[in-house]
Amino acid sequence: MKPEPAPIRFRLNGSAVSTDAPPAMRLSHALREHLGQRGVKVGCDAGDCGACTVLMNGAPICSCLTALGQAAGAAIETVEGLAETDPLAAKLKHAFHRHGAAQCGICTPGMLMSATALLRRNATPSTAEIENALGGVLCRCTGYRKILAAVADADGVETTASIETGHAVGARVKRLDGARKLDGSEIFGADDWPEDALVLRCIRSPHAHACFRLGDLDAWRRANPGIARVFTAADVPGRNMFGTIGPFIDQPVFARDVVRFEGEAIAAVVADPETAWSLDLKDFPVTWESLPPLVRIDEATDAAAPQLHENRARNLLTEGRVQHGDPAVGFAEAEVVVEGAFSTGFVEHAYIEPEAGFARRAGDRIEVQACTQSPYLDRDEVAAILGIAPEQVRILPTAVGGGFGSKLDLSVQPFLAVAAWHLDRPVRMVYSRTESMMTTTKRHPAQIRMKVGATRDGMIRAIEFHGDFNTGAYASWGPTVANRVPVHASGPYHVPHYRATTRAIHTHLVPAGAFRGFGVPQTAIAQEQLYDELALKLGMDPLAFRLKNALSGDKPTVCGQVLGSGFGFKACLEALVPHWRRARAEAETFNRTSGRMRRGAGIAGMWYGCGNTSLPNPSTMRIGLKPGGRLALFQGAVDIGQGSNTVVTQIAADALGAPLDRFDLVGADTDQTPDCGKTSASRQTFVTGKAAFLAAQALRQQILRLANAGEDARLEFSDAAITVIEGERRQHLDLARMPRDDRGFVLLAEESFDPPTTPLDANGQGSPYAVYGSGAHIAEVEVDTDLGLIRVRRMTCAHDVGRAINPTLIEGQIEGGVAQGLGMALMEEFFPGRGENLHDYLIPTIGDIPPIESILIEDESPVGPFGAKGIGEQALIPTAPAILNAVHHATGIRLRRVPAIPDRVHAALLALKEHRHA
C-alpha cells in the first residue's frame, strides 16, 4: 500500500495553506486548480514564456517548472497577493495602468511579479537592470516599451485629473478594463469553469497526410475508467465542418478517414480532470497509413499532385487580381526597372494565452465561453455543427490573451460544443502550447515576384506583381489574403499602370489564416525593398522618392478609387524628414570609422484599408439609459487587448455629451450585445466606433427632444436626473418618472454602421474600403558583419490615425506592431513538426525592442468617428521592410527572404564580398 501522502503546507500570499494535491504536480497547475490562484497564467509549461512567474521566498520562478512538493514550507506570492496595502505593489500596478503597460493582460502577472522582485531589492533600477529582470517574461502585445517605462516610473506621480465631459476623445484615458488585468482577476479562456466540468482532450494526427482507421474505442474506454465518452466524426449532430467564409467552409471538426495536416483532430476524449490530464493518448486505438504530404506550392500545383479538396483543382483555393491601366504601356515608358523574388515563411501568432474555454448545455441551448475574436461567427458555426438554430447558441467571449487574427477562427469551440451537447454536462478544454502552435492558423508563407518601373525623373509608371500564398490544408482566411493583397501591393503610391495577381494554394500543412495584416506585411517586404532599390538606381534619396510618388486624395488608387480628403500619407513622410536626415547622417558618420559594425537607416511606407474588402461588415451598438442615471453600453466588439472597451466608450461619451464614468460596459455576449462584427481588419475603432458615435448621438437627440432643447445644449447626468442646460435655461428630466421599456431602460438607442464600399469588378476596380490608414517607419540598425547579427537601435513611426481617440492606446498598438514586425524580419519562422514551442520559435524579448517614437498624424477621415481610422494592422506592416532597407544602407546586402537570422545575413554578406571581388 502506498502511504497516504501528507498534505503540502506553505505560505501563500502571507497565509498558511495546505493542499492534498500530488507533490509532483506542477506548482502552476496546483495554484490554479487547487488553490484558486487563477492569476497565475500558463502559457507554455516549459519555462519559455514566464507568464506563470510567482515569487518563491522572494525570488521569481516559473511555477510551471517547479513541483508543488518543492514549495512545501516556502513563501509563495502570486499576483493576487500584490495587495493595494503593499505600497510598492500598489505603486507598480498604478504605473502599469498609467503607462498602458498591460494590453491583453495575459503576461501582466508574470511581469508584475518579476518587477516586484526587482524593485524590492533595487528601488531605482537602470534600463539594463529592468531588462535583465523582465527578460524571462514574453509579451506579444505591447512591444515592452510601456512595461519598461512603467517599471522605471513605479515611484512616479499618479495622474488623478479627471477627464472633463466632452473631452474624452483625444485624452490618454486609462484602460477602463485595466484594473482587473493588474490584480489577477481578469477572466481569460482558461480561468473559469463550472465546478463539475469534465475535461476534453483531442486525439490528433501525427502525420501531415494519412488515412486512418479507428480501432476498438469501447475497449479503450473500458480500460480507462475515468473516461466519460469518446467523440468522433460520427458524433457531430449537424455539419461536421467549420470555417470562416461561407462558400469556403471546409474544415472537419473531426477528420473522417483522412487527415490533411499534422495535428488535425480525429477524436476527442472527455473524462474527469485527473483522468484526462494523465491519459496517455498514444494508446488511443487508431491505425495510420501515412501518405506523402504536399508541402511546397510548386508540388501542390503540379498537375499530377493529389487534390486535397474535391472541387479545388490543382489545389487552388482562390485567386485575386487587380489591374489598372496597362502595365505593358507603363513598362514601355519606364526607363529604370527593378525586380525581385521574395519569400517568407509561416509566422506564428504566439499569443501567450493558448486557446481555452468551456461549454455547457442549458435545455435546448448551448453556451460556449471561450477566448475569441469573433463571437457571432462562433455562434453561427457552433449552431451549424450542432444542427440547431443560431439563437440556440450563446457565445460568451472571455478576455483574450492575445489574438492577432488567429482567434478569429474556431479552435476549442466545436469540440466543447459537441461534447457538452451530448453529455449534458459542462466540458472544458485548454490547448497545450504544442497543440496551439501545431493546429491553429499561421501567417501565410508567401512567394512573391514583383517588378517596378519608373521614369528617370523618379515617377513610378508600372508594377507587375504575383504572389503565391501557401494556405495549408483548409481555407480559413486564405481567400481574404488573396483578395486583399492585390489591392495593397502598390503601397500608398500613385501607380498608373498596375497588375497584381495572387493565388492561395492548399498543401498538407497547418492552415494559414488571418494574422495582423492579411498578407500585406509579406507584400510590403517586396514592395518597399524594391522602391528602395529603384530610388538608389535613380540616384534619389529613398524618402524623397516616396514623397514624390506618394498617393494623394486627388489621384486614383490601383483600384481606381479616389480617396478625397483624409488620406495623410504625405504628411507622415514629411513628419519623418528631420528624423530621416539625422538617422542617415548618424549612420554614415559612424560607418566612417567603423569596420565590423555597420549602421544604417531605412524607411518603408504602408497603407491599409480598414474593414472587410468590398464586403459588408456592419457593427451595431446599443446604449440604454437606466433609471439610476447610468448608461449601459452594449459593447459587442471583443477587446483583445487593443482597447476597444475604452476607445468605443470614449467615442460614445463625447458623442452623447456624458462623462466617461457614467458608462457601464455590457458584454460581449451574443445574448446581450448586438453584433459588432469581428475584431479584425483594423475595423473596431472605425466601424464599431462609428456605430457607437451614431447610437450616442441618437440617444442625445432623444434627450434633447424631451427637453425641447437645441443641438448645443449641455447635459448633466446625476443618479436621479439629466439636466439639459441651454444658456440660462436648465431643464430636469426626472428619470424616476420616465417610462421604462421591457429591459428596464428609460431611453434606448441602437444604431448600425456599415462602411460605404463598392464591389470590385473583374479587374479589381471599385471602392474596396471606405477608409485607409497609412504611415511610414524609419528603422535604425547596427549589423555585426562578422557574425551576421542585426540589432535594431531605434524605430521612428509616423501614422495617420485620422483622430487619435486615445494616444496611449495608439502608441501601444504601434509599439506592439513594431515588435511583431521586428520579429518577422529577424527571428520568426515556424516549421511545422519542428518547432511547436516557444524556445525553437522565437519572438522578441524585452531586450530586443529598441526605443520607439510614435508620431501621430491626424488627417481626419470624413467617415470615421471623430475622423478616426484603424491602427492595429497598420503598425506592423512597414517595420520589416524598414529594417531590411536599413540593413542595406548599413551593408549593401538585400535580404529577400525573412527572417534575416544571423546565418542568412552572414551568407548574404559573404556573397556580396565575393561579388565585389569578382
Partner: protein
C-alpha cells in the same frame, strides 16, 4: 518497486537521498527547469526524488588546491558568490542560462546531467578543468567533465548515482576568463554557438590557455590545437589573430532552425576571437 514506495521523496541528507536513489531508481528532480518541461500536469510516472533540500549538495567550499561547488547550487547562487576571476566566464554563462526564473531554480549539476549540446555551463567548466564528484549508495567516484558527457543528452551517470559536486583546481581559478553566447535574440535563447575562454598569464604572455566551444558538436569540446597555438603569445587583444580556420575545422555542428553547420563553424571562430579579446580586456562577456 514495492510497498512503501515514496511517490515524492524529499530527503534533506545525502545518504538518505542516495539510498532512495538506489532503491527506487526514481526520476531525480533538482531545479526542475529541464525535467519538468516534458511533463503534463504532473511529473512522472514513477517515483520522484527531489534532491533540492539535500544540504550537502549546497554551497561552495574553498580549500588550498580546489574550489568545490555543490551540485545543487543554482545559477543565481553561483552568480552571487564571491569567486576568483577564473569563474568570471562561468558566471557570465550563468547569467545567460534561460532567464532569471530559470537561474533561480536550475542547478549546475542539472545543467551537466541534462547534457544538452548547447548547455551554457559546459564550455566554461571545461576551461576550468572541472571534475565531477559522483556518488551512489555504494561508493563515490570522480570523473572529468570532458569524459562525463558522452553525447547529445547522454552521460556516464549510472542509475542510482548523483552528481554531488563540481571541483575546479585552484591553479585555474585564478586565471582570466570569459564567455560569449550567440543567439537570435537577447534573452531566453538557445545558443547557436557558445565559447568559454580561460587564460593564465606569465610575464605578460599566455602561460596556459583553455578554449571550449558549445553547440557546435554533440558535446562541447576544447580546442587543443588552438590552445597550443596561443601559448607564449603576448596577452594583448591581437592574440585573437592567432585563431585560424583549422582550429575550428574539427567541430561537427549540425544544421538546424537556428543555423547551418557552415555558419556555426565560421561563427565559432569569430566568437572565439571575440571571447579572447573580451577576456584580455578584463570583461566577463555575455551575449555576443
Amino acid at each position: 518497486m514495492g510497498e512503501g514506495l515514496p511517490l515524492f521523496a524529499q530527503p534533506t541528507g545525502l545518504d538518505e537521498a542516495l539510498d532512495l536513489a538506489a532503491k527506487y531508481r526514481p526520476l531525480v528532480l533538482a531545479g526542475g527547469t529541464d525535467l519538468m518541461v516534458g511533463a503534463r500536469a504532473e511529473l512522472g510516472p514513477g517515483p520522484v526524488l527531489d534532491i533540492s533540500r539535500v544540504a550537502e549538495l549546497k554551497g561552495i567550499a574553498f580549500s588550498a588546491d580546489a574550489i568545490t561547488i555543490g551540485g545543487g547550487t543554482t545559477w543565481s547562487e553561483l552568480v552571487a558568490a564571491d569567486l576568483p576571476c577564473g569563474f568570471d566566464g562561468l558566471k557570465a554563462a550563468g547569467l545567460e542560462v534561460g532567464s532569471v526564473q530559470i537561474q533561480n531554480r536550475g542547478t549546475i549539476a542539472g545543467n551537466l546531467c541534462n547534457a544538452s549540446p548547447a548547455a551554457d555551463g559546459v564550455p566554461p567548466l571545461l576551461t576550468l578543468d572541472a571534475t565531477l564528484e559522483i556518488r551512489s549508495a555504494t561508493g563515490a567516484r570522480r570523473m572529468p567533465l570532458a569524459e562525463f558527457i558522452t553525447g547529445n543528452r547522454r552521460t556516464r551517470l549510472e542509475p542510482g548515482e548523483l552528481v554531488t559536486a563540481i571541483q575546479v583546481p585552484r591553479r585555474l581559478a585564478n586565471g582570466r576568463s570569459s564567455f560569449l553566447k550567440l543567439g537570435s535574440r537577447r534573452y531566453l535563447v538557445i545558443s547557436i554557438v557558445s565559447v568559454g575562454v580561460l587564460l593564465i598569464e606569465g610575464g605578460g604572455r599566455v602561460a596556459e590557455a583553455r578554449v571550449a566551444v558549445g553547440a557546435c558538436s554533440a558535446v562541447a569540446v576544447r580546442l587543443r590545437a588552438l590552445e597550443q597555438a596561443l601559448l607564449g603569445r603576448a596577452l594583448v587583444p591581437s592574440l585573437a589573430d592567432a585563431v585560424e580556420p583549422r582550429h575550428v575545422a574539427g567541430l561537427m555542428p549540425i544544421d538546424d532552425v537556428r543555423g547551418t553547420a557552415g555558419y556555426r563553424r565560421g561563427a565559432a571562430q569569430e566568437l572565439i576571437c571575440d571571447a579572447l579579446r573580451t577576456c584580455i580586456e578584463g570583461r566577463a562577456g555575455g551575449m555576443a
